[in-house]
């Protein structure tokens, strides 16, 4: 039984993988674009809000032990509501990961495979993801917990190896474009913590459900530290870049690492680690989508769904006409969707379900 359950470390790794996959692409640039030199301050502020929301999610799930958000939505609005919510989650995970896959593949194509059609680069990831999903239900979850420390080490290394290139004065003015941009409209940067969408599905998957609170808090804190390191690296290194560079921002930072004449051009090592992280990310999103689909359709086996979901992701990754279109989705559409769906709609469902449960229990007592 425990073979199909997740340990706390694996659960935290899942959430971090989603954050890391977004960070490798344009997430740091989006954050820096919206709050400029105040991004570090804004991230600390946003972390406070997300910590509160994570705690709120934990409190809401406390009344529904061993249930995920789909079970709770069924309790709240019946089967139709559960199906709608499940559909929304499948849409969110599949579309966001497909678009991210497209952008990542396109960046790799620009850097390493200029003459190869982007379709084949995407196919490369899709094949890896499909194989991982066919292996066993939790293969990708386990693999993630091995890869995650490596991904965190690379970012730590990126930060410390680039310290010589830092200009700390770039964090001033500390309030960036002003108080309103940093603390009011800057709340939009909450979408950087999109990884917490996994928290809604974790309770029934955990080996030790009593650790759910720790997982919620630890995943938000580690994600915040990770984001702070990435944003600090870029903020201290480039001031102009934000509006100019179209390649992955962290990749640009890796190109600056040099130790004498012999240790140079380490970017390929970083890209290799990020590619593996990306396969893990695709594995996780497709797995959670399959879980949702399995739950709303009450299908017994998941393996027949692996190939259709992989093909769906492949087709969606190819659907943007060009890089500009997929970047628009990642930078704009995805940001607002996360804001509305993950942080407002889902938490709203949990709160209303809690009120309903409270009312039912009150009625039972009286």
């Amino acid at each position: 039984m425990n073979q199909t359950k997740l340990s706390s470390l694996e659960a935290i790794s899942l959430i971090l993988t989603i954050t890391i996959a977004h960070t490798v692409l344009s997430l740091p640039r989006i954050l820096l674009n919206s709050t400029k030199s105040a991004t570090l301050l804004n991230l600390v502020y946003v972390t406070g809000i997300v910590l509160f929301l994570a705690w709120l999610i934990y409190r809401c799930f406390k009344r529904f032990p061993g249930q995920d958000i789909l079970d709770i939505s069924e309790f709240l609005g019946g089967k139709i509501f559960k199906n709608i919510l499940g559909g929304c989650f499948i849409f969110y995970f599949i579309v966001s990961s497909s678009v991210l896959l497209r952008n990542f593949s396109q960046s790799i194509q620009v850097i390493y495979f200029p003459m190869t059609n982007v379709t084949f680069v995407i196919l490369f990831f899709i094949i890896a993801m499909t194989i991982v999903n066919y292996l066993s239900f939790h293969a990708s979850f386990r693999a993630t917990s091995f890869i995650m420390p490596l991904a965190i080490i690379t970012v730590l290394f990126l930060f410390f190896a680039n310290i010589d290139n830092f200009s700390f004065s770039r964090m001033f003015p500390i309030l960036g474009n002003g108080f309103i941009d940093t603390f009011i409209t800057g709340i939009g940067n909450i979408s950087a913590f999109c990884g917490i969408s996994v928290l809604y599905f974790l309770p029934p998957l955990l080996k030790k459900p009593e650790n759910y609170k720790k997982i919620c808090i630890a995943s938000v804190l580690i994600s915040a530290i990770y984001l702070l390191l990435c944003v600090a690296t870029l903020l201290f290194m480039f001031e102009f870049f934000i509006s100019n560079d179209e390649i992955m921002p962290l990749y640009s930072a890796t190109r600056y690492i040099e130790f004498g004449s012999f240790v140079q051009r380490l970017e390929s090592v970083f890209l290799l680690v990020w590619m593996i992280v990306f396969v893990c990310y695709l594995g996780i999103t497709s797995k959670i989508s399959i879980l949702c689909f399995k739950k709303i359709t009450k299908i017994k086996y998941h393996k027949p769904l692996v190939l259709p979901f992989s093909l769906l992701m492949f087709a969606l990754a190819l659907s943007p006409k060009n890089y500009a279109e997929s970047i628009f989705f990642e930078n704009t559409v995805f940001r607002y969707f996360v804001w509305f769906f993950i942080f407002t709609f889902c938490i709203g469902i949990l709160l209303i379900a809690n009120l309903k449960m409270k009312k039912i229990k009150k009625e039972e007592i009286t």
Partner: protein, 189 residues
């Protein structure tokens, strides 16, 4: 019961073989295009004001000697090419259009701006170079009193056989003299 299992195995093997062939074929074109034989490596870039266009861009290539047949000790030949274009990227495209090999800037060690163009502001050009995935952040930037084209063409290192090596180390004297400014792309802003 055994027959479908073995058939399944055969189909899996055929599928794996097909995917391997597909991926090898699809990625081989990129491998060929990035092959060292098909690339022309730029070691220095000179940027001047153009007559018919905004910029006059000079490329210095190194024609590396073959290490076969005891030619290893031969000096490398330098080749210069100049084009006029509205921007650096267009200049690269233009030179790619008529040069036999595809130019590659990943070993470009020096970028020279003439004083005339520097007085107009070079941040736009430096941004272009910084955002290029081939140009290294360690490339040196120089502003020359004379034309950038003349500077590149007249720079013959006497203690080095490879001009790329000279371009890489000559600015490092700032570490022990303080008379030279080591201005690389990474330190420019």
């Amino acid at each position: 019961m055994n027959v479908p299992q073995s058939l399944k195995k055969i189909i899996t093997h055929i599928f794996i073989l097909f995917m391997i062939i597909l991926l090898i074929v699809s990625f081989s074109s990129s491998y060929a295009s990035l092959n060292i034989d098909n690339l022309a490596f730029v070691v220095a870039l000179g940027i001047d004001t153009g007559e018919s266009h905004k910029l006059k861009v000079t490329f210095q290539f190194t024609n590396l000697p073959s290490t076969l047949e005891g030619n290893a000790s031969k000096e490398s030949q330098t080749v210069f090419n100049t084009v006029e274009a509205p921007s650096i990227n267009t200049a690269i495209q233009l030179i790619n259009a008529y040069l036999g090999k595809k130019i590659n800037l990943s070993h470009c060690k020096l970028i020279v701006f003439s004083e005339e163009i520097a007085s107009q502001g070079i941040s736009e050009h430096v941004y272009t170079l910084m955002n290029d995935s081939q140009v290294r952040p360690s490339s040196n930037i120089i502003v020359s009193k004379c034309e950038a084209k003349t500077y590149i063409e007249e720079s013959f290192p006497s203690l080095e056989e490879l001009s790329s090596q000279y371009y890489e180390i000559f600015a490092q004297s700032d570490q022990y003299t303080g008379l030279v400014v080591n201005s690389t792309i990474r330190r420019f802003f």
